[in-house]
């Protein structure tokens, strides 16, 4: 237990140190806020990508974006206006959803940051869509190159792709260990660690990931009801602690901040921009993508692969795409005999007893359900 705390403490200190170092970095720091942003391009340009995961509250953002907006978007807007990121030289916004699209507009209008770029993201995955997305990546390169006066060589890009693939391998290992119950971390700590990979530079986060992998025991002794946590943006993994406290075990996650990423590394044997376009566009989809069936198939596969007994669907209030998808996914899972609990929540953490009670009741129901063998296995 002491070691667990050390890893979390180390992680927090590392993030704090890293964030502190950004002010004195020579390389421009570029904020990004959607897991579809091809950060490898920013890295190839010698820029420092930083995933913006602002803490709530978001009062300042509320003045510029309607209160019926996703809390994550309002928090970014609020933190931007409050100059919480004084070291930021630019922002790359993905045209993921109406919220992000309007974040770009509001930020461009009310904030004086000189580089704000919106990158379009197709909602379909046809060959034509991949070509269009490749062109969008090219447009990002053009904008970055002309604004920051940098050039991106094929060699640098290949080197950055290799580094990204190393992260991919390490993350895959961590997630496999998590699913096998061999990670010497609580689920809360594991999600914090996965979240941190969007914040920290690769050279900083790789040692942390390696350490966690190396310290994992040979045999997993983890017990609990196997749960898949899926949904939209989860800034505060307090909910994961609630699941653990109720006797659940998060064996797999499919979240914007953790888990939902390409199943394959970036190909190094073809046109790099085409490879990158495919890598991002064909990855397990977010609910904003048009073909819901692809996502449902992906989630169903996770359920089967990790012997999940219940799914917790976490969705931020006002996140239309995930809200629409919830009943469709629930229907499929019902047919599979897998119960799904939908938690619609504000981006504020500090959830009250209501959510805790619902999670507890859900886990108790799962403990009571299932075959005697399954129940035995979760004890």
């Amino acid at each position: 237990m002491a070691e667990d705390r050390t890893i979390l403490t180390d992680l927090r200190e590392t993030i704090e140190r890293y964030m502190g170092s950004l002010s004195v970095r020579e390389a421009p720091v570029i904020g990004w806020c959607c897991s579809y942003v091809p950060v490898e391009i920013l890295e190839s340009a010698g820029l420092v990508p930083l995933r913006l995961l602002p803490p709530p509250p978001a009062e300042m953002g509320d003045a510029y974006l309607n209160p019926n907006f996703c809390g994550y978007v309002r928090a970014i807007m609020g933190e931007g206006l409050a100059r919480a990121y004084p070291f930021l030289s630019g922002l790359v916004v993905m045209n993921t959803c109406d919220g992000m699209r309007r974040l770009f507009d509001a930020w461009s209008h009310f904030h004086d940051l000189s580089f704000v770029h919106l990158m379009d993201l197709p909602r379909i995955t046809t060959p034509g869509a991949v070509v269009y997305f490749r062109e969008e990546i090219e447009r990002l390169i053009d904008r970055v190159s002309s604004h920051f006066g940098v050039s991106i060589s094929t060699e640098t890009m290949a080197s950055c792709f290799r580094a990204s693939n190393r992260t991919h391998t390490l993350l895959q290992q961590v997630q496999d260990l998590m699913g096998q119950g061999r990670l010497d971390l609580t689920d809360y700590e594991a999600i914090e660690l996965l979240k941190a990979t969007g914040i920290l530079a690769r050279e900083t986060c790789h040692p942390l990931l390696k350490r966690v992998i190396n310290e994992s025991p040979m045999e997993g002794d983890r017990r609990g009801v196997p749960i898949l946590l899926t949904g939209s943006m989860l800034e505060n993994p307090e909910i994961v602690s609630m699941i653990e406290a109720g006797g659940g075990w998060v064996v797999a996650q499919d979240l914007c901040v953790a888990g939902r990423r390409s199943e394959n590394p970036i190909s190094l044997t073809e046109d790099p921009l085409m490879a990158l376009a495919r890598h991002y566009l064909l990855r397990p989809p977010c609910a904003r993508m048009q073909d819901s069936q692809r996502r449902i198939d992906y989630v169903s596969n996770l359920v089967r692969s990790y012997h999940v007994r219940g799914v917790i669907y976490y969705v931020l209030k006002f996140c239309d795409t995930f809200l629409y998808e919830a009943p469709v996914l629930k229907q499929t899972l019902d047919h599979m005999g897998i119960p799904m609990l939908i938690i619609e929540s504000e981006y504020r953490g500090g959830w009250g007893g209501g959510i805790q009670t619902r999670i507890q009741a859900f886990l108790e129901m799962l403990n009571g359900a299932g075959s005697p063998d399954q129940r035995e296995a979760t004890r």
Binding site: D98, R101, P122, V131, Y132, Q290, T321, Y324, A326
Partner: protein, 411 residues
């Protein structure tokens, strides 16, 4: 009981023959003949849709209807029907049903439409056709319906950028989509049918431009509340048909008469307002009564703006793609802002009202920027929060106070 009876009635195509006469008598009190064309158009469309003589294509509001007519289908627009249910003050029936399935924070028009589908108020679709123009809600709502009805969903992914790459991406999708739909319905894609649709579309567009020109007159000859109702309804549902040409010709003549007489729709026009957003509350409400009572005329609305160029039969897919991409709701907010500024200048408005419909992220999210830019140009802009379809989100007293304060400020 009443709900079930109505659901049973509207599924009978003969019902539309029966109600047409009484409705004609009832609506004869309206001096505007265009309104009856709208009513007849709706009755004819839904008679055809329930009779299923042609493929029934449920379509999202911003898919050019020319496509649906060109494919030989009958378009059904769930959003427009939802607004009609609100107009008849029965949206509550459907919201109650839909709210057992989807979040109450989603757009009420889609919630009403879902409730209508659940209550059997909508004709069975043969296929669904939607585009990503405007909002996320539309994309996912049609995806959800596809699961519900187990019918194919065809989708146009409209690119954010109106450039060479984006246009090619959209044109390719249009070609694939028309091929696939023609195969599915068994109705071949015939250029001569589309040519006729294009001709009718361009004629309707011509009248629309004339109407918009006439509406620059002082005093305002035609109320924005009506333009936002059946005017926009016809624009979404009928462009590319004979009734659309008849409708806009009739409306044009009606407004021309008013202009010739120097008659405004208000007894005394003190202020001229621009309405921002494609919708207004359709259930009984006092918004326009309050404005009218205070001499504030809604002279124009962004929904009526003709943003698209003439369609060209020589390059039909490119032309339809251009129509889709010309929509000022696509791309950066700057396009909508520029458009609002131009309209404010053209129609010489004293102020603007941005109707922030609960659940419409794309529109509400741009309201602050729009208001800020308009104010910088000396045009006060009020952000009026409300709901277009769900009367439970409407507070008459508060709305009246806010509107009166805004109009007072204009003085």
């Amino acid at each position: 009981m009443i709900e079930r009876l109505i659901a049973w009635l509207i599924r009978r195509p003969h019902y539309y023959y029966l109600v047409r006469g009484p409705l004609r008598v009832y609506y004869a009190r309206y001096a505007n003949p265009a309104f009856m064309i709208w009513v007849s158009f709706l009755l004819r469309t839904y008679k055809e849709a329930f009779a299923r003589t042609r493929p029934v294509i449920w379509s999202s509001a911003f898919v050019p209807t020319e496509l649906v007519y060109g494919l030989g289908g009958v378009p059904v627009h769930p959003e427009i029907l939802a607004s009609l249910m609100a107009y008849f003050d029965i949206s509550g029936w459907f919201l109650e049903k839909a709210d057992t399935r989807i979040s109450t924070d989603l757009c009420s028009f889609y919630r009403i439409a879902l409730g209508m589908a659940m209550a059997g108020f909508l004709p069975q679709p043969d296929l669904l056709l939607s585009s990503s123009t405007f909002c996320d809600g539309s994309n996912k709502f049609f995806g959800y319906l596809s699961q519900l009805y187990n019918v194919p969903h065809f989708f146009l992914d409209v690119p954010y950028h109106d450039g060479r790459h984006g246009r090619r991406y959209l044109v390719d999708q249009l070609k694939d989509l028309t091929d696939s739909i023609a195969q599915l319905t068994g109705i071949p894609w015939r250029p001569e049918r589309m040519e006729r649709v294009v001709e009718l579309s361009n004629r309707a567009r011509g009248y629309l431009l004339q109407i918009n020109d006439l509406r620059k007159s002082r005093p305002a000859p035609f109320p924005g509340s009506e333009a936002l109702s059946y005017g926009v309804g016809m624009m979404f549902c009928s462009i590319g048909t004979e009734p659309s040409v008849n409708f806009y010709r009739a409306l044009c003549r009606f407004i021309q008469q008013k202009v010739d007489q120097g008659a405004g729709y208000l007894p005394e026009e003190k202020h001229r307002l621009l309405w921002l957003h494609h919708i207004r509350p359709y259930y009984p409400n006092n918004i326009f009564d309050v404005l009218n009572g205070n001499g504030a005329a809604v002279v124009f609305e962004e929904a009526s703006h003709v943003y698209w160029p003439q369609l060209d039969n020589r390059a039909i897919f490119e032309s339809v793609a251009q129509k889709i991409l010309s929509n000022f709701s696509n791309g950066p907010l700057e396009r909508r802002v520029d458009n609002a500024l131009k309209m404010a200048k053209t129609y010489e408005v004293d102020g603007a009202i941005h109707f922030s419909h609960w659940g419409c992220r794309q529109s509400c999210g741009g309201a602050s920027v729009l208001a800020d830019v308009l104010k910088a140009q000396g045009i006060p802009c009020m952000i009026l929060d409300g709901d277009g379809g769900d009367p439970s989100n409407y507070s008459p007293g508060q709305t009246q106070t806010r509107l009166e304060a805004f109009v007072e400020m204009l003085e």
